[in-house]
Amino acid sequence: MRVETVAPIETIQKSPSNWSILGRELLKDKLAIGSLIFLVLFLIGIYGSITLINQDEVTKIDLMAIQAAPSADHWLGTDDAGRDIFGQLVIGARNSFTIGFMITILSAAIGLTIGLIAGFFGGLVDNIIMRFIDFILVLPFLMLVIVFVTIIPKYGVWEFIAIMTAFLWVGKARLIRAKVLAERELDYVQASKTLGTPNWKIIAFGILPNLSSIVIVNLTLNLAGNIGIETGLSYLGFGLPDGTPSLGTLVSSATNPVVLEQYWWNWLPASLLILILILAINFIGQALKRATDAKQRLG
C-alpha cells in the first residue's frame, strides 16, 4: 500500500539556501553593496595597472624633485627622494593587499587543515596539536616578529608573509577546531561513518562545506585586519624592507613630523586608502556575518 504521495514539487515551499541568503543580505545592505563595488574597482585598478605602472620608474630617485607638491606630473606629489607618490600608492596598495590576502589565505589554509584534523580525530592527535597551539599562542607575537625580521637575511614581501602566517594560523586552527568538534557530533557525520565513507572524505566533502560560511566570514573580517598589518611594524622600523612600496611604508612616513605637518601628500592618501579599504572589507564581512547569523539579520 502506498503511503501518502508526496506533495507536488511546486507546492513544496523552497526555503532559501545559505548562499542565496548571503546574497540577499548583501544586496539589502547599501553600504555593503557600495563597498563591494568599490573593492572590485579597486582590485581591477591595482592589479590591472601592473602593465601600466613600472615599479622601477616609480621608485626612481629624482633628487631635483624632492617633496614636490601634487601637480599634473605627479598627481599626488613626490616623497623625500623625489619618487612619485601616486605610483607608489598603486604599487603599495597592490603589495599591501597581496600581503593581507596571502596571509589570510595561507593562515586559513594551514589553520583549516590542522583545525579539521585536530577537531575530527580528537584524542591524542588533538591533544598534541592543541598543546602546540597553546604554546604558540602565549608567545609574545610582536616581539618575536621583530626578532625574526632582524635575523632573516633576505627579507622581502614573501618572507614577511611567511613570518606572519607562522603566527596567525593558530588562531584559525583553534576556531576551526572548535567548530569541527561541534560539527562532528552532528548526525550527518555519524551517518557518513556508518555508510562506510572514509574519514578524509567526510572531512573534505562533509564537514568542510558546512564550515564554509563561517570560514568565509571570518576570513573577510581577517582580511580587513591583515591589510594594515604591516603598517604598525613599518612604524617601528620592522616592516617591509626600505624601498618596497606599501601602504604601511607610505603611512609611516608620517613618523617624521615635518612630513606629517607639511607634506601631507606623503601619508594622507595612503592612510585614507587603508581606512576606506578596511572599512569596505569590514562592511562586506559584517553583512556576511549578519547573513550567517539569523539573529542579526536585517529581516
Binding site: D134, V147, T150, G232, L279, K295
Partner: protein, 322 residues
C-alpha cells in the same frame, strides 16, 4: 582549585623551557652583538680589545654553552647583566616595570570604562542611531593605524592645545614620594593612556555588543521578564552579567599583558617602559635584556591564561575545576 592551579603552574615549566630555548637561539642568530656598536662609542678602540671583551663575556662560546650558563644563572634568579646599561637585567626591568605597570593599568581601566558602557548601549539599542554611531567609531578606530592616531593626539592635545606633557613619565625636579609627584606622574599618563585605550576599546565594544545581542534573545531573559522584572533590571541583572562573562575571562590575560609593555604607545609618547626598552635592546643587541623581556612576556601570558581560567571559574558557576 589549588590542585588545579598548582598543576597549571607545573605545566608552565616545560612551556617556558621551550620558549627559553627558542628565544635564546633565535636571539643568538641575530647578526651582531652588544659590542658591534662599540666602534661608534670609541673609534679608537682596538679590535683586539673588543675580542678580549667578547671572550670575557663568553660571547665566543658555542651557543649551547652560553645557553647552559644562562639557564644555570636563571635558576639562581640571575637574569644576567645588560651590556648596554651595565646593570643587572633584573634591576633594569624593575626600574621600567613600574612605569609600564602604571600605563598598562591606566589603559586597561580606561578601556573598560569606555568600552563596557558603549558595548552595552550599542547592543541594547541595536540598529538605532546610537548603535550606528558607536559601531562607526569602532570601525574607524579599527581601520586607523594606531600610531597615526596617537601622533595626531599628541600633536593636537600635547602641542597645539598644550594640555598635556608630550613625553616622559614625570617632570624633572618633583620629589619622588610626594603627593605632587604622583599627580605629576598621573598627568603624564593621561595622554598615552587615552591613546592606548581608544584603540583597544574596539574589540571589547564589538565583542560586548554581540554578546548583548545574543544574550538578549536567551530564554532566561524571557523568564526574567515574565517575572515582572523591569526592563532596566533585566539588563543590569540578567543580560549584563551574562554578556560580561567572556570579557571577564579576558581580564586575566589583559591584567598580565599590561606588564609586557606597549611598544607603540611607549615609543610614540617617549614613555620609558618595557616596550621601549625592548625596541632599544633589539637594535643594540642587548641579548640578556631581549631574552629576559621575551621570557617575561611569555611567563605573563601563561599566568594570564591561568588567571583567566581562574577568574572564569570564579564568576561562572558552571565551570568547576577539580
Amino acid at each position: 582549585m589549588w590542585k588545579f592551579t598548582l598543576r597549571r603552574i607545573l605545566i608552565m615549566i616545560p612551556q617556558l623551557f621551550v620558549l627559553s630555548v627558542l628565544i635564546f637561539f633565535v636571539a643568538k642568530a641575530m647578526p651582531g652583538d652588544a659590542l658591534s656598536g662599540a666602534i661608534e662609542a670609541n673609534p679608537k678602540v682596538s679590535a683586539q680589545v673588543l675580542e678580549e671583551q667578547r671572550e670575557k663575556l663568553g660571547l665566543n662560546d658555542p651557543a649551547w654553552v652560553q645557553y647552559g650558563r644562562w639557564l644555570g644563572n636563571l635558576f639562581q634568579g640571575d637574569l644576567g647583566k645588560s651590556y648596554v646599561h651595565k646593570v643587572g637585567v633584573t634591576d633594569l626591568i624593575g626600574s621600567r616595570l613600574a612605569n609600564t605597570f602604571y600605563l598598562g593599568v591606566a589603559i586597561l581601566i580606561l578601556t573598560y570604562v569606555i568600552s563596557i558602557p558603549l558595548g552595552i548601549l550599542s547592543g541594547r539599542y541595536q540598529n538605532t542611531l546610537l548603535d550606528k554611531t558607536i559601531t562607526g567609531y569602532t570601525y574607524l578606530s579599527f581601520a586607523t593605524p594606531i600610531f597615526i592616531f596617537s601622533l595626531l593626539m599628541l600633536f593636537v592635545f600635547g602641542f597645539r592645545l598644550g594640555w598635556f606633557p608630550t613625553s616622559g613619565s614625570v617632570d624633572v625636579g618633583v620629589q619622588p614620594g610626594t603627593w605632587s609627584y604622583y599627580v605629576n606622574k598621573f598627568y603624564h599618563l593621561i595622554l598615552p593612556a587615552c591613546a592606548g585605550a581608544l584603540v583597544s576599546t574596539t574589540a571589547t565594544i564589538q565583542y560586548l555588543r554581540n554578546e548583548v545581542i545574543d544574550t538578549r534573545l536567551k530564554d532566561f531573559v524571557k523568564t526574567a521578564r515574565s517575572k515582572g522584572v523591569p526592563e532596566s533590571k533585566v539588563y543590569s541583572r540578567h543580560i549584563l552579567r551574562n554578556s560580561l562573562l567572556p570579557i571577564a575571562a579576558f581580564l586575566g590575560y589583559d591584567l598580565t599583558a599590561v606588564l609586557a609593555g606597549n611598544l607603540f604607545i611607549e615609543s610614540i609618547f617617549g614613555y620609558p617602559g618595557l616596550g621601549q626598552l625592548f625596541l632599544q635592546s633589539i637594535t643594540q643587541r642587548d641579548f640578556s635584556v631581549v631574552t629576559a623581556l621575551v621570557m617575561l612576556s611569555g611567563l605573563l601570558a601563561l599566568i594570564g591564561t591561568l588567571l583567566s581560567d581562574l577568574i572564569l571559574s570564579w564568576v561562572d558557576p558552571r565551570i568547576r575545576m577539580g
